[in-house]
């Protein structure tokens, strides 16, 4: 049951092998047993989860079940869920019981899925190790001395440790893909605008995108079918026809052109990661694909560009946390301005404050053109690099992260080293193109390695096909640490 695919769970629910109530109870018990060690969940609410399971059992009995009906899904604590504590990993929202559902939560509720709990994350999704959470660090289930990656570290840990069949994440600079790689699971950041940002607590609005995290590409496709779709309450939600992300999974890969950007294979990648990528490319050639070298000359500037644009947008988005309408308020203050200053000094952690300061500075008078506009111009050059590369290839592959999971505490005192964990992932957020990570083996200290599959706008179905074909002939995605 814990290792079953979403399709298997759905079939077993339909065949009455077990009920959703039984399934949900099993996962809740497993969370109770293992979560104290991993800290993957911030909130578990058995009563609310079981009430949903009971309703799902009715849907199944009435023959109204969809592919996810009755299946528990772990929700990242960035998604507002009505009646649930929704903290975004921050003291600032440590008392915030959401009065409404995010668009993504509504979609899962309509599909009859069960919210099995809210997962731990870096504070306001700012981090690559899950160490900035107000609720404590998450452990990597493959090696509890290692970070799970971030910011969706709780989600990645929960899926890897089989505390949930699947999870949601959000990705602003790599926050779905990097933890997926470090925890040995699959995750996809869709094209910007496909998944509603309504009720998804904003970090950097032009980069933020929700997406699924699961054991396999086949599971990701089922989750994307539920998560994507137009939402009028998100001003950047795209109006396009619904797509069936499962429909191309079985297509053969003969003739596929895989682009390998020379900049990503130049330096910085550790040897164990390079070896795993090489073996994976051999597998893809056996499946009929060919590889071509491509160039993304401006891609190495993704990190500096990202660290101007994301903090700039964050400093604006996070100005709403002022202790007036919801969330934390300092207990003593002299006047209104002092209340704002003390509330924000006490409510935000060090990394969040650092990024607000960077963002405030790059947007301030006299620096706007030199930093913010400059970064936006480079953003265009980076996007043009990718558009040009996709004329020579169908898909781009490389490592998701330069190394396997690092140790807890290893980089937490050095923000720049931490930022460089996202060196391969942040470009896809700047361009808005889809990108995913799948497990392809193990490196140093037997820690997982992820393959980064990047595609042009709206190529999710093809990317899932490419990942699925690999998963049909390998079993890395079936491995679990517990």
């Amino acid at each position: 049951m814990f290792n079953a695919s979403l399709k298997q769970l759905s079939t077993q629910l339909a065949e009455k092998k077990f009920s959703s109530t039984e399934l949900t109870t099993q996962f809740l018990q497993r969370i109770k047993q293992l979560n104290p060690e991993y800290n993957a969940f911030i909130t578990v609410n058995e009563e609310m989860s079981l009430a949903q399971a009971k309703a799902a059992d009715k849907m199944i009995a009435a023959g109204q079940a969809g592919p996810l009906t009755g299946i528990p899904i772990a929700q990242k604590d960035i998604f507002c869920a009505k009646g649930w504590l929704t903290t975004c990993g921050s003291r600032m929202l440590s008392n915030f019981i959401s009065p409404y559902d995010a668009g993504v939560i509504e979609r899962f509720n309509q599909a009859g899925a069960i919210n099995i709990g809210k997962t731990n994350m870096d504070e306001f999704a700012m981090g690559s190790s899950n160490e900035t959470s107000y609720y404590g660090m998450v452990k990597n289930p493959w090696d509890i001395a290692a970070v799970p990656g971030g910011s969706s570290g709780g989600a990645a840990c929960a899926v890897a440790a089989r505390l949930a069949p699947a999870a949601t994440g959000t990705d602003t600079g790599g926050s779905i893909r990097q933890p997926a790689a470090l925890c040995g699971i699959s995750g996809i950041k869709p094209t910007y605008g496909l998944v509603s940002r309504y009720g998804m607590i904003a970090f950097a609005s032009s980069l933020d995108q929700g997406g699924p995290m699961a054991k396999s590409a086949e599971d990701l496709a089922l989750l994307l079918n539920v998560m994507t779709g137009f939402d009028p309450r998100d001003s950047t939600s795209l109006q396009r026809d619904a797509e069936n992300y499962s429909q191309d999974l079985q297509k053969p890969l003969a003739g596929l052109r895989i682009g390998l950007p020379k900049e990503y294979f130049a330096e910085g990648m550790s040897q164990d990661v390079a070896n795993a990528i090489e073996k994976t490319l051999i597998e893809y050639r056996k499946l009929g694909a060919q590889t071509v070298e491509v160039s993304l000359p401006n891609a190495p500037l993704s990190i500096p560009v990202y660290y101007v644009l994301a903090p700039a947008e964050a400093s604006s988005n996070l100005s709403r946390f002022d202790g007036v309408r919801y969330g934390y308020r300092a207990s003593s203050y002299s006047d209104l301005a002092d209340m704002y200053r003390k509330t924000r000094a006490q409510g935000f952690g060090a990394e969040v404050k650092r990024r607000i300061l960077i963002g405030t500075y790059v947007l301030s008078h006299g620096y706007y053109d030199a930093y913010y506009i400059k970064a936006q111009k480079l953003r265009r050059l980076i996007a043009q690099d990718f558009i040009a590369a996709y004329k020579q290839c169908d898909i781009i592959m490389g490592p998701t992260a330069p190394t396997v999971a690092f140790n807890l505490g290893e980089k937490s005192g050095d923000p720049i080293q931490m930022y460089l964990s996202d060196i391969y992932t942040s470009a896809a957020n700047l361009t808005g193109m889809p990108a995913m990570s799948i497990p392809i083996g193990f490196g140093d200290k037997n820690r997982p390695i992820g393959l980064h599959i990047m595609g042009n706008y709206f190529k999710e179905a093809q990317m899932l096909n490419i990942a699925h074909q690999y998963q049909l002939v390998t079993d890395w995605h079936l491995k679990s640490p517990v």
Binding site: Y192, G193, Y307, V308, D338, Q376, K377, R379, L381, L430
Partner: protein, 95 residues
Amino acid sequence: MTLSVSDVKRIADLAYIEISDNEAKEALGQLSGIFDLIETMQAVDTSTVEPMSHAQNVLQRLRDDEVTETDQHELYQSIAPQVEADLYLVPQVIE
């Protein structure tokens, strides 16, 4: 580019975040390193490039000017730090 402690304190003031002298000194070291990284952007000539503010080149959607929300102020105010007579309370602003 060189930042000073007084720059850090000024930025924190703009961002409405209280910061002590020691915190400002610590932040200065980290921010200087980050701005050195950011400075590498200047190596590329972008004089003829249009800024890209958004991933999708789509126009802002408009909608009809209709009421779509119902009054839920009681629910929303139930999670506010301080409310009185349906109003959010803040410290006195005008003497």
